[in-house]
């Protein structure tokens, strides 16, 4: 090697001219990367269809927000800050990498770059960027090795720890940054020794520090360092490039596409097959995901993009109570399966069933579809659609837990999971005291009624939950709402039938309801059940607009039509629990809180996990029938969170939350210390009646029942 500080392309490496060496290296590196990526595309080509090419501007906006803007990263402050710094550093260094790489193959000995001042400014910024990225690698490694955040741990049933892979990757990036800086520093040190004009190095940046350390180094040593650092940088760069498609580091390339193609319509469930209308579903041979190739290409892309950060599982209530489900491993197991069955060398060997292979039945049934994982994922990886598709596959193969078969059968024959008679669906309005103060009509299409109160099964049949129905009806009638119910012609909304993978049964229930709703001639729908709300809003088509009762109450409170009495016991502390299908899936967070805050004297606290980080109570619909393997009930954990927040009253706005909370209070032995109440029940209790209830009751009592 000669002492050169021009371009490494003009130098000689072991008798090979630098330019030739780097041309070969770059060609091999790029060819290798292209080959691996092409191999990684093969499963995506064999995957199911997925329509993700609509709304380009919305999608671009999401790229700006979630990719470039790193929107969700600050939710985990330390890891998020580190990631934002690395990401920003990488963005800055993309141009630098091009300049440095092209130097090795260029015939000119001058480093390419931006002209004039822009070049100087960029030089300073990129030096700091490399320094920051380098430091972040050290901090991240220390976190991994010393502080070991719990969410990175891999329980033994999911395999070995991923620490070694993570450290290896951090090390590679650190080497890349150090090599580039050393390359720059050694030239600057030589320039200084030779008395030539020295390039300005950003103070305290990595190149600046290296240069300071190398001031006294002899020129031949500096020359070796200069050329060696360049070679190491080159090798590290292309090794890293080709190594990325083998693990979590692939998200560097794929995340942009994952986010661009991410699901836009929250609360919905993907169709059984994209592009196949409901009427033709009977001709589809197999439903759902049974083998890897049954996933859509976007879902496979999610597997490539997952960065194994553990945020999903950290927020997953199923994981928190020891159910055999951890969303993070849903993804990483699928990725491992993909890499094994679609190897880079050799041909694909696909088609083995996923259930019983990489997933267990209990694992897939353990999900409550609460959406906490999806609300947290910085890369917008989708879980619910995958879980539902896997369930559809199991339902199609007859693999349904015994505990769910009875309710499903009852939904098929009776339209409710309890197997109760259809004609008793409206019995709840006939409770004696209730009927005296509030009459609810069953719609037959002949009355001119504006509003339908969609009750759904649990509120219609469950003794305890009927009280929520009666409170809702009283609120509606007190605001002068002209409303009615469907009675026997209402079927279960099918919300959770669909989410448990029984699409055919869901469609039957939906079609019967849509027909009944249309026949009733109403102009709008109100429900107190967030699951029914979500179904009517997102799963049904061509039905009138739907509102949750909390939205109605909030509006009427604001308009002054509902006035609320002060709370009786001022020592009570209330905490509002966000139902998953009201909050996370439909973003109704403020209306229920506004209503609570409108009650004079009501003290309200927030649980740490609230709003989009709310913790699922245990799930609704069929989830009430499922018998999970778990260490603890989700509801019990939730009640403990309310205790920690200092509350003694949990307010919720969902009948299933109510069942789970009241059960949990009993299981936790908290009876008398903690109570649960539905928002509608609370408002009905606090509502200022136009006339004192006693007088009204007395006035109406002697009237014949028919007049009421």
């Amino acid at each position: 090697m000669i002492e050169t500080f021009g371009s490494p392309s003009q130098a000689t490496y072991w008798f090979i001219q630098g330019r030739i060496l780097f041309l070969v290296l770059h060609f091999l590196g790029v060819a290798c990367f292209a080959y691996i990526v092409a191999k990684r595309m093969i499963p995506l080509m064999r995957a199911e269809r997925d329509f993700r090419f609509d709304h380009p501007w919305t999608r671009l906006g999401r790229v700006l927000q979630f990719w470039l803007g790193q929107w969700r990263h600050p939710r985990y402050r330390t890891a998020g800050t580190i990631h934002i710094l690395i990401f920003a550093g990488f963005i800055v260094l993309v141009m630098r990498a091009f300049f440095v790489l092209s130097l090795g193959t260029s015939s000119s000995s001058a480093m390419p770059g931006l002209p004039g001042r822009a070049g100087h400014i960029y030089g300073i910024i990129q030096a700091y960027a490399a320094t920051v990225v380098f430091l972040c690698m050290i901090v991240a490694a220390v976190r991994r090795l010393v502080f070991k955040p719990a969410r990175y741990a891999v329980p033994s049933r999911y395999g070995k720890a991923h620490t070694a892979d993570a450290i290896f990757l951090l090390g590679l990036i650190a080497i890349l940054m150090a090599a580039d800086s050393l390359f720059e520093a050694s030239r600057a040190a030589a320039q200084a020794q030779q008395g030539r004009e020295v390039e300005f190095l950003a103070v305290l940046s990595l190149p600046w520090i290296f240069k300071a350390a190398l001031t006294a180094a002899p020129l031949p040593v500096l020359s070796t360092l200069y050329l060696g650092a360049y070679l190491i940088h080159d090798l590290a760069f292309f090794f890293l490039l080709c190594y990325r498609p083998f693990g979590i580091q692939f998200h560097v390339e794929t995340s942009l596409f994952s986010i661009y193609f991410a699901k836009l319509n929250r609360g919905t469930i993907k169709p059984v097959r994209w592009g196949v209308p409901d009427a033709q579903l009977d001709q589809v041979k197999s439903f759902g995901v049974k083998t890897f190739e049954d996933f859509t290409w976007k879902h496979m892309l999610d597997f490539y993009s997952c960065a194994d950060c553990g945020r999903c599982s950290d927020n997953c209530p199923a994981n928190a109570v020891g159910r055999p489900l951890s969303p993070r491993f849903i993804t990483t197991k699928a990725r491992d399966y993909c890499f094994t069955h679609y190897p880079v060398l050799g041909s694909a060997n696909n088609g083995t069933p996923l259930i019983g292979g990489i997933y267990s039945e209990d694992e897939i049934w353990s999900c409550t579809t609460c959406g906490a994982c999806e609300a947290e994922c910085p890369l917008l990886v989708e879980y619910i659609d995958k879980i539902v598709d896997l369930r559809r596959g199991m339902v199609d193969d007859g693999k349904v837990p015994q505990s769910l078969q009875k309710p499903l059968k009852a939904l098929e024959s009776r339209g409710n999971p309890y197997g109760k008679m259809e004609k008793k669906r409206a019995e709840w309005v006939k409770a004696k005291e209730f009927q005296q103060t509030c009459s609810v009509k069953v719609l037959n299409g002949k009355q001119d009624t504006d509003t339908l109160y969609f009750v759904d099964s649990i509120t219609s049949y469950d003794d305890r939950i009927q009280a929520i129905g009666r409170a809702t009806a009283k609120i509606l009638s007190s605001t002068g709402e002209n409303f009615g119910i469907l009675g026997a012609s209402e079927k279960d909304s099918g919300h959770d039938v669909r989410r448990f993978g029984e699409e055919t049964l869901f469609m039957a229930l939906r079609d019967q309801n849509v027909e009944a709703i249309k026949a009733s001639g109403v102009k709008r729908i109100v429900t107190a059940d967030p699951h029914a709300f979500n179904a009517l809003k997102h799963d049904y088509r061509d039905v009138p607009p739907v509102e949750h009762i909390s939205q109605v109450i909030a509006r009427e409170v604001k308009a002054g039509k509902i006035k609320l009495n002060p709370v009786e016991n001022e020592n009570d502390v209330y905490a509002y629990h966000d139902p998953c299908y009201l909050g996370r899936h439909n973003q109704v967070y403020d209306d229920p809180r506004d209503v609570l805050d409108a009650i004079p004297g009501l003290k309200r606290v927030e649980m740490t996990r609230s709003r989009d980080r709310s913790f699922c109570c245990g799930g609704g619909g069929l989830a009430l029938f499922y018998e999970p393997k778990e260490d603890q009930r989700m509801g019990v954990k939730r009640v403990q969170m309310a205790v920690e927040a200092g509350a003694n009253v949990i307010v919720t706005a969902c009948p299933f939350c109510m069942v789970n909370m009241e059960d949990a209070i009993k299981v936790a032995g908290m009876e008398g210390k903690m109570t649960a109440i539905d928002l509608a029940e609370l408002v009905e209790r606090q509502m200022v009646r136009e006339e004192p209830p006693e007088r009204r009751l007395q006035a109406e009592l002697p009237a014949p029942l028919g007049r009421l």
Partner: protein
């Protein structure tokens, strides 16, 4: 192995409110929903699992009316290859022996290595399996809760006996077994599965096809239902009072007295 499962359609006890009719000689049958007799569903699942291990086909037969075809469809959606509806006006009013006679005639016109029935019908009295075996002169085992296929035309079966104990037997084929619930976990069949077998033909066999004219039906029945009644409600539950400790003490005392605790 060719397996026949004899199944029956009954009012679903979990989805109906069973009430007596005004005359008091039957239950109120308006508004009832029906399903396959639950133990029969376990028998079909067991037959399917045997066929998955040892090869062969499963045939499900029911003696009943047109409406009973729905349970055959459901069991065919589960995986049974053939469904046979044995239906004739002449069969109505048959007692257990009559049903067994009809099934015996059906079995003799075909070839089956193994015949399964549910342990009992939810609306009848566990009669047909044993009588069918006797009429065919086949060995019979009731309350079977595990089946293993052995070489040489034999099965190893487990029978549930009092107290959850199991009795292991070897039994020669062909034989009749009545299947206890809980022997397996029956697979789920939804509307989609049933729709997929909707166009598979289901043959209907009548009295003339089986050559049982005169031997079955109401006239030949020797057991006749004379009444239907709901037993009067017994004394309600006893509520224990006092503090938690007192309640526990009382409960232990009562359990000991009744032999629940030793």
């Amino acid at each position: 192995m060719e397996i026949l499962v004899c199944a029956r359609r009954v009012p679903d006890t979990s989805e109906n409110e069973i009430e007596l009719n005004a005359a008091g000689n039957d239950i109120e049958r308006d508004d009832l929903v029906y399903s396959i007799n639950e133990p029969d569903n376990y028998a079909v699942e067991e037959a399917l699992q045997i066929v998955e291990r040892a090869g062969g086909n499963v045939t499900v037969a029911t003696v009943g009316g047109e409406d009973d075809e729905e349970i055959l469809r459901r069991e065919m959606a589960m995986g049974a290859k053939n469904g046979v509806l044995i239906s004739d006006d002449a069969f109505s009013g048959s007692d257990g022996k009559g049903i067994a006679t009809i099934l015996k005639a059906f079995v003799e016109k075909n070839h089956f290595d193994l015949i399964l029935t549910g342990v009992q019908a939810e609306d009848a009295g566990a009669q047909v399996g044993g009588m069918l075996a006797a009429m065919l002169d086949y060995p019979f085992a009731s309350l079977v809760n595990a089946i293993e296929v052995l070489d040489g035309g034999k099965l190893k079966i487990s029978r549930e006996i009092e107290g959850g104990n199991k009795e292991m037997n070897e039994i020669d084929l062909p034989c009749v077994l009545s299947i206890q619930t809980g022997i397996n976990e029956p697979r789920y069949v939804g509307m989609r599965g049933i729709r997929q077998v909707a166009s598979v033909p289901i043959p209907t066999l009548g009295a003339a096809d089986l050559g049982v004219e005169g031997a079955v039906g109401g006239a030949a029945a020797k057991v006749k239902r004379v009444d239907y009644f709901a037993p009067p409600l017994g004394k309600g539950a006893e509520m224990l009072g006092g503090s938690r400790e007192e309640i526990i003490d009382k409960l232990i005392e009562m359990l000991k007295a009744k032999g629940g605790l030793k």
